[in-house]
């Protein structure tokens, strides 16, 4: 039971990721109507259309004025994640997270450090985010959707078509060779999109400095360590939109120094 409690958010996250995959899969193979389509665009209960706002943005950049369904679907998703905040999609929904978490876990277990010869900036993803829109505008086709591991991986699981293994392997090797969470944390333009979108969201991790014993456990598990800059130094919210809200830091923290809190609301007793 103790280990269950210690991994509460990790387990919840896996349940969430897998449940979404299973529902999509069942939607295709068994005709379930709970969730059909895939991560690019989906329908809930055959009614509410959801769509990937970055994909729709690329389509618009490419010069295609998408159907109203798609635009509304993108807006719903956009607002949902903007309100929740952070990169909630990345940690709780995206199937690639399963791969990158596994890679990060295996590197941690084998104590393999990041490659010092290939140093990437975490800002590369913002360049790629912009580049995706520019290329879409130039070639007239949603550019990231043509190469996105997120959609290719999910399609191969949901529709049982090939190509997925290739991408899983490529991602795995890249994360191994270059950096922990190399794809998700440095390159993925979709993650960058959600980082910007969720910057002012409600759900944030709150750090209580007085409880912190500087054990550094949170740093060793965090996929976006730069967001933990205040840990051990200053009370307050982990403000960065780059935080995926994976809550792994909360799980591993033995000192109750990190917890979920509602942004803006807790401010009044914020000891600064």
């Amino acid at each position: 039971m103790a280990s269950l409690r210690k991994n509460k958010f990790l387990i919840l996250r896996r349940v969430s990721q897998l449940a979404i995959l299973v529902l999509f899969f069942g939607g295709n193979y068994f005709g379930w109507k709970v969730l059909t389509g895939n991560y690019s665009s989906a329908k809930i209960l055959d009614r509410i259309v959801l769509s990937d706002p970055y994909a729709v943005l690329q389509m618009l950049a490419g010069g295609y004025w998408a159907a109203a369904d798609l635009l509304i679907g993108a807006l719903i998703v956009l607002l949902f994640y903007a309100i929740i905040g952070g990169r909630f999609f990345c940690a709780w929904v995206c199937p690639v997270n399963l791969v990158s978490d596994f890679t990060a876990w295996s590197k941690r277990k084998l104590n393999i450090k990041n490659n010092k010869r290939i140093v990437l900036s975490r800002n590369v993803r913002y360049y790629l985010l912009a580049l995706g829109l520019i290329i879409s505008a130039v070639i007239g086709v949603a550019a990231f959707e043509m190469v996105s591991p997120v959609t290719i991986l999910s399609r191969s699981i949901i529709f049982g078509v090939g190509g997925g293994w290739l991408f899983i392997t490529a991602l795995f090797l890249f994360d191994w060779a270059v950096a922990r969470n190399g794809w998700c944390g440095y390159l993925c333009p979709l993650g960058a999109f959600y980082a910007l979108n969720g910057k002012y969201g409600l759900l944030k991790v709150y750090h209580d400095k007085d409880n912190c014993t500087l054990c550094n456990e949170c740093f060793s598990v965090c996929p976006e360590v730069q967001v933990l800059s205040r840990v051990g130094k200053k009370d307050g919210y982990i403000k960065s939109g780059e935080c995926t809200l994976c809550a792994r830091c909360i799980d591993v923290c033995e000192d109750n120094a990190l917890n979920f809190a509602m942004n803006y609301i807790k401010n009044n007793h914020n000891k600064r």
Partner: protein, 258 residues
């Protein structure tokens, strides 16, 4: 504060990175979107590039297809990755009257509007997924053997596919029963290709753009009253192509040709 030199240098570096990444990514994505030979679900854009642009690759048309006709393209298929297509020789389109694939498309890449004549209900019979063409060398009906399998399987029998009779000079007493495709009616469903009895289908469906030609505006059917009306120019032609009058008279004038 960074020096001006540093700032400019970084600017150039970022620009170079964007350029490098952009060229690499752009050419990869551009190539991936280049797919002339894919047969698309009914109600798709006429131009395949437009279809690829509009498709969000959610696969919902594939999910609702009751015959598992539609597949999603994967890397290496040579069709824009994630877009739906079908291979009639494996599973053709059986032309569901309720057109669930088109109906389920959220993006407008498939649209019922493209399946209806003005003022009437959408009908799968107006679909233009492709067009069947026949290879007379491989079609045994052209050898004089009686085979009308494709003709009988065609969902628009005697409209999209008709049988033409021709005397068989070799036997002097039989007729060839030749299948002929009528492009005005063929929906490209591919049932004919699916049922064709020879080793590799002698009748196969190609994208409309590839299967069809275009005579161009300067040919006028003199025996067709409606077509001949095009010669009565009401206002001066604005482009060379429309300049039919001068085209008609240039041989009778003394002007030099060039």
């Amino acid at each position: 504060m960074a020096s001006r030199r540093k700032v400019i240098e970084n600017l150039f570096k970022s620009g170079a990175f964007m350029g490098f990444g952009g060229l690499l990514w752009g050419s990869a994505a551009g190539n991936a979107a280049e797919t002339e030979l894919a047969l698309r679900p009914p109600g798709a854009f006429e131009n395949d590039r437009d279809f690829v642009q509009a498709c969000i690759k959610c696969g919902q048309c594939v999910e609702v297809c009751p015959y598992d006709t539609l597949k999603l393209a994967t890397p290496g298929d040579g069709k824009a990755v994630g877009t739906p297509y079908f291979k009639p020789r494996e599973i053709p389109c059986y032309m569901c009257t309720d057109i669930p694939c088109t109906r389920n498309c959220p993006s407008g890449a498939l649209d019922l509007k493209r399946l209806q004549a003005k003022g009437s209900q959408p009908s799968i019979d107006t679909a233009k997924m492709g067009m069947a063409i026949i290879d007379p060398k491989a079609c045994i009906a052209f050898w004089g053997i009686q085979c009308d399998v494709c003709y009988r399987a065609c969902p628009l029998l005697d409209k999209a596919l008709i049988i033409e009779r021709k005397r068989n000079e070799r036997t002097q007493k039989h007729a060839y029963l030749l299948p002929v495709v009528n492009g005005d009616h063929c929906t490209g469903c591919g049932v004919c290709e699916h049922v064709c009895v020879v080793e590799e289908a002698a009748i196969s469906v190609l994208p409309v753009k590839i299967a069809t030609g275009k005579a161009g505006g300067h040919y006028i059917k003199g025996w067709d009253k409606a077509d001949e009306k095009r010669m009565e120019l009401k206002e001066p032609a604005t482009t060379d192509e429309e300049d039919i009058e001068s085209g008609l008279n240039y041989l009778n004038e003394d002007n030099e040709l060039y």
